[in-house]
């Protein structure tokens, strides 16, 4: 039996976050909270057909995304990582375009954003992260780039997650497996999903060090992620982080959580709101004052305005893209389908 492995670089002597950084974290969380709430409203107003809110997961997402080095790391999201995207500076109109039903995966440039296309297959991209990370090893850079793959408690049940962890550990690939355990996979609570109760606990079986962290504490999440990245960067292989948080809203705008949990259960499970909690801490520590919070709120609203305008401007993509973007080198058969489609559309 193996002993529980530990992180090689515990990041103990990494510099603590500056006041500026702490405020930046809050500003990001406020922007994310605002945009997330807005997107749910957009769906009700018919501006977008659907959305997967991340209400309650702002600390987990912003804290981890903020730690990523956009010069060398690469992030593999699910369909619920809007906060990570925002923290990494991904173009948010491009991001939201997937929810506008403009283009599956989004319209931002994933290579430039260091943020892979939005992924709708649960656990679909976890293995991609391992492959990308092994590519960094093969490229042989010192202080290598790290792949950060996000997935949920539900996703942890998929075979691909196991294959990914085993591959990563065998190959010592620089991957951070970042689990947001938000208590639910649609209607199924973690206790009926994750045998043993913890995804992080599985890491030991592969000899992978793991960190279970309070996912509603943005600073704790940031520090855990920074440690994990440092561990991977120095060639020590993968790390598992399990951020314990709570999905305060519905699974998606199509979901009806009243069918499987009561408002009371919701309140109990969710605990303290990560934004409010961080705000109180910043106030108590004298890092920020009410004027700062008001300003963060104002900026968030402004940002939402811009994004909503961008979304409205998007318009449907030209149908020709259905054909032209399938291959790098389109086939004659597909080109003639495109021609037939164009002719029939014009004559209809």
């Amino acid at each position: 039996m193996t002993l529980k492995p530990v992180l090689a670089a515990l990041d103990d002597d990494a510099a603590p976050l500056t006041h500026h950084q702490l405020r930046e974290l809050y500003t990001l969380m406020a922007a994310v909270r605002h945009l997330d709430t807005a997107a749910v409203a957009w769906q009700r107003q018919g501006i977008i057909p659907g959305y997967a809110p991340e209400l309650g997961q702002e600390a987990a997402q912003v804290g981890s995304g903020y730690a990523v080095d956009r010069a060398r790391d690469f992030v593999f999201p699910t369909y619920r990582e809007m906060g990570v995207a925002r923290a990494m500076g991904v173009d948010m109109v491009g991001y939201m375009s997937t929810h506008k039903a403009t283009w599956h995966g989004g319209m931002y440039n994933p290579l430039e954003s260091r943020f892979a296309p939005i992924q709708a297959v649960v656990a679909g991209s976890v293995l991609h992260a391992v492959g990308w990370a092994h590519g960094q090893t093969l490229a042989g850079a010192q202080e290598t780039g790290v792949a950060v793959t996000y997935f949920g408690d539900g996703a942890s049940s998929q075979g691909d997650v196991h294959e990914a962890m085993n591959f990563a550990a065998v190959m010592k690939a620089p991957v951070v497996f970042f689990i947001q355990n938000n208590g639910w996979a649609i209607s199924v609570p973690t206790e009926r999903q994750v045998a043993g109760g913890s995804v992080a606990a599985r890491a030991a079986g592969y000899g992978i060090p793991s960190l279970q962290v309070d996912g509603n504490d943005v600073v704790a999440v940031f520090e855990a992620t920074r440690s994990a990245l440092a561990h991977c960067r120095s060639g020590n292989g993968p790390v598992v982080i399990e951020a314990m948080t709570y999905r305060r809203g519905p699974h998606s705008t199509a979901d009806d959580p009243g069918r499987y949990r009561t408002l009371d259960e919701e309140r109990l499970g969710a605990g303290e709101d990560p934004l409010e909690r961080f705000k109180q801490r910043l106030l108590a520590d004298g890092v920020a004052d009410e004027a700062f919070f008001a300003e963060a709120q104002r900026k968030a609203a402004e940002e939402e305005e811009t994004i909503r305008a961008g979304i409205a401007d998007l318009g449907p993509r030209p149908g020709a893209e259905m054909f032209s973007l399938v291959f790098q080198e389109p086939t004659p058969a597909l080109q003639s389908q495109a021609t037939a489609w164009r002719e029939e559309s014009e004559h209809a």
């Binding site: 039903a101 283009w103 049940s157 649609i186 069918r259 149908g319 054909f323």
Partner: protein, 356 residues
């Protein structure tokens, strides 16, 4: 479409005949199956308390207990692999995969295990599994939520594949599938879940109800169904495309073109006789499906028609299908799914075909 004009108030019109949505018809069928066969178990992601994301299993856990209707962890291969073991232990599993595109993680268990266990075990381990798959597109959903896997399933030896196009058939075909000893892939046209139609809930055998505007009086549960009779051309379709083809037929009728619509229903085995009879009469055929063209089931249907009707066929069978592209995002889905115009163009090509 008759079913769109039916209101809540008329929901129960006569003894035996009920106005139900396909969601209600399927839910009712499952309820009855659970009542009638104590070996039936229903499971999948969110099937229990939530009643499934489409509410097909709504209320069944509360009524039949957590042992018979239950949620599994989020793993499709697990769900289907577990079904094999339950079948080996004498159960009749009715698993669900939440959406068509999420059948792929389970394909290994479906193809190599479910479809082959009866054969491998020389008939000693039958697999009476009915796999429900909410299928096809048209609901402006996220990626992987609008796929048509029938060509894949139909190619797999050992599977039977069926897709209802209306509430009546949904009810009867599901009850029929679940009562058989072989594995059946049951493809539900998710865009039709909420359309109502008459369901004769008493008539498992006679199947005599007028449904979906169809005129079929004799269709048995195991074959295709003539959804509309016509003389000039046969439109072959299944699932959500059937009602679209019926619309097309109405439009064509205005131009004096009398179209027969054949609802294939069974995608494996295909009712080759029904194809031969219909096209033997009309001498022209167009097959319509949402799946991509190449190697789609339309090729098989076209070839079966050509094989049986070659001597009398007036034109090559046309295919109006999805394109050879990944199912697009909502904004483009009406460009992708065969629309009325594209089907009419296909009909026109056949009608205007001249040899040489």
């Amino acid at each position: 479409m008759p079913e769109t004009t039916i209101t809540e108030a008329t929901a129960t019109t006569a003894v035996g005949i009920q106005q139900l949505s396909m969601q209600q018809a399927l839910n009712r069928a499952l309820d009855e199956i659970l009542n009638e066969n104590p070996k039936t178990v229903i499971f999948g992601e969110d099937c229990g308390q939530l009643g499934g994301v489409f509410r097909i299993t709504d209320g069944l856990q509360a009524k039949h207990g957590e042992a018979r209707v239950f949620d599994t962890p989020l793993a499709e291969s697990g769900i289907l692999g577990m079904s094999v073991g339950l079948a080996m232990a004498g159960f009749h599993p009715i698993p669900e995969v939440q959406f068509d595109g999420f059948a792929y993680p389970a394909i290994n268990q479906i193809v190599c295990q479910i479809a082959r266990m009866n054969y491998r075990s020389r008939g000693t381990l039958p697999m009476p599994i009915t796999l429900r798959v909410p299928s096809f597109g048209g609901i402006r959903a996220p990626e992987h939520h609008g796929e048509s896997l029938e060509a894949l399933f139909a190619h797999v030896p050992g599977l039977k594949v069926v897709s209802p196009s209306n509430p009546h058939d949904a009810y009867h075909l599901l009850k029929y599938a679940a009562s058989r000893p072989d594995p059946v892939i049951f493809m539900e046209p998710k865009s039709r879940y909420w359309q109502k139609g008459p369901v004769d809930v008493g008539s498992a055998d006679q199947d005599t109800a007028a449904h979906d505007g169809g005129t079929d009086d004799a269709g048995s549960l195991t074959g295709a169904r003539v959804a509309r009779e016509g003389r000039h051309l046969t439109l072959v379709a299944w699932g959500a495309m059937v009602s679209r083809c019926l619309q097309v037929a109405e439009l064509a009728a205005e131009d004096g073109i009398d179209i027969e619509v054949l609802d294939l229903r069974w995608l494996k085995p295909i009712d080759a006789e029904a194809l031969a009879t219909s096209v033997g009469k009309t001498r022209r055929a167009v097959v319509v499906h949402e799946a991509p063209l190449t190697s789609g089931l339309g090729a098989e249907v076209a070839q079966l028609i050509t094989q049986s009707c070659f001597a009398t066929l007036k034109a090559p069978v046309e295919r109006v299908t999805g394109f050879d592209v990944p199912y697009p995002s909502g904004d483009l889905e009406d460009e992708y799914i065969p629309n009325i115009d594209r089907i009419l163009f296909g009909i026109q090509r056949v009608l205007e075909y001249r040899r040489g």
